[in-house]
């Protein structure tokens, strides 16, 4: 019996790998239309996955770049003495969660307000003599996601009148992203299952076409692993072939989109993802998904029709 054990453990020979690869390609060729349908299903699925992924990742990047720009406005108490103001500035600058602190006088604030209203803003100029606004510190959090907590913390400090930050727009954008992600996920899972189903059917056809061969292999003592390998490989190839077109299309598409948008966004705080390494990441993701779909589909059939 120990002799048997040793034989099972021996590494697969190169010749054997060659045989399995040959057999798997023979089946791919022989299955004709079913091969075509399976590869087509994987192609459609991965194309949609790729497009969704590219859009979502970029929306995310845009949201992050906007969020990055979110500023906390710390209004200083009008009653604060210059010393107290100085103390507040020192305190803000000493907080590790804060990246930058910039002073903005109430005149400056008023000018900005006037500007933001355009023509109608002229009327606000009446306040120039009796400016009702506060001096302010413009604060940026080191981590944009912590803006809210940092704002809460600043609120409790002395000489602080009020704390403002424009989180609402960013929150809205993130909500849109999360909804489209969920919708996309449902569609993608549906397509994924279709592709897996088609592949498992193709492999089933191969198994049925080869049942005499399989029967003889069993009879003469081929191991289960040996019998299964060609079917795994066939599924794997179907998945890999299915990922070629989506990877190509998405790379070309993104190159063009990036080439068009990037110059327009130059100097703007809104950003989209750079062509490299993003396109490599997407390609790898699609290739990996193709492999998983293929192997999964073939595993379903192998398990069902190659009972040992």
């Amino acid at each position: 019996m120990s002799e048997m054990n040793n034989e099972v453990i021996t590494v697969m020979k190169l010749r054997t790998i060659g045989r399995h690869v040959r057999e798997s390609f023979k089946s791919i060729w022989r299955n004709g239309w079913m091969t075509f349908a399976s590869v087509g299903a994987v192609t459609v699925t991965l194309l949609l996955v790729g497009v969704f992924y590219v859009i979502l990742m970029n929306l995310n990047e845009v949201a992050n770049s906007i969020e990055e720009d979110v500023t906390i406005k710390v209004l200083i108490d009008t009653t604060a003495t210059p010393e107290q103001q100085k103390a507040l500035e020192t305190e803000l600058k000493s907080m590790p969660e804060i990246k930058s602190v910039v002073f903005s006088s109430k005149d400056n604030e008023l000018n900005q307000l006037v500007d933001s209203f355009g023509q109608q803003g002229e009327i606000l100029k009446l306040y120039e003599q009796e400016n009702p606004l506060n001096d302010a510190f413009l604060v940026k959090a080191a981590e944009p996601e912590t803006t809210k907590q940092v704002a809460k913390k600043i609120e409790k400090l002395e000489s602080v009148h009020l704390v403002n930050y424009g989180q609402n727009d960013v929150d809205k954008l993130f909500k849109i992203i999360s909804i489209s992600r969920n919708v996309g996920l449902v569609i993608i899972i549906g397509l994924l299952l279709t592709a897996v189903f088609l592949i498992s059917n193709t492999i089933k056809i191969t198994i049925v076409a080869r049942r005499r061969e399989i029967e003889i292999m069993r009879l003469v003592g081929a191991t289960n692993g040996f019998i299964r390998w060609p079917f795994f490989l066939e599924g794997l190839w179907l998945g890999i072939f299915g990922s070629i077109i989506p990877i190509t299309i998405i790379a070309i598409l993104y190159k063009n989109i990036y080439g068009y948008l990037a110059p327009k966004l130059e100097g703007n705080f809104i950003q989209i993802l750079e062509f490299t390494p993003f396109v490599y990441q997407v390609s790898l993701l699609l290739l990996l998904m193709g492999c998983i779909i293929g192997v999964w589909g073939s595993m379903m059939s192998v398990r069902k029709f190659l009972k040992v």
Binding site: M1, M4, E7, V8, K13, R15, T16, R19, R212, E213, E215, I216, M217, R218, L219, V220, G221, A222, T223, N224, F226, I227, V308
Partner: protein, 228 residues
Amino acid sequence: MIVMENVYKKYPNGVVAANGIDVAIEQGEFVYVVGASGAGKSTFIKMMYREEKPTSGKIIVNGIDIAKLKSSKVPLFRRSIGVVFQDFKLLPSLTVYENVAFALEVIEESPRIIKKRVMEVLELVNLKHKTRMLPSELSGGEQQRVSIARSIVNSPSIVIADEPTGNLDPDTSWEIMKTFEQINSHGTTIVMATHNKDIVNTKKHRVIAIDGGMIVRDEQRGDYGYEA
């Protein structure tokens, strides 16, 4: 050496096809298994190469209790046994040579050994001149000889045949019988289920008669024994 001790086999549908079988077959014996249709001959034979598992009892083949053998160990066990069927089970798209080589390729034998062994066994079954032909270009007897060549190419110690002459005319059956006797003369055990009365009564060997899943007769140099 094949030993069965108190072997029962009940199929899922409730049919009891082996009902307390005790038997010992020595290495190098030639054994006919006879009995009416449905008596349990095929079941008896299938349990020897672990195609069917007994419901209870012991089956020891070459020192291994194959009733208890884990399914992952079955492939390696099968390599010590050759099996021949009534319908040959050849692969139609492979040549004679390829059909025989197939049995060694799928157990990852080296090409050098495959070439040598395949030519040896094809010579033994007298088909050395037809290695490039497809099964469809051969007579029934020739096809059966290819399948016998395949069953012995891995030098098994036991060859099990289930009605190997069932599809063949009398003359061809005698040819096949000669081939089996030749294999047996090299020390290989042969267990053959058969309905061929002439052969059993002429080429005398041990006869095990089965009826209702039980061994009802077991004689050295026995007769077929009843009218089929």
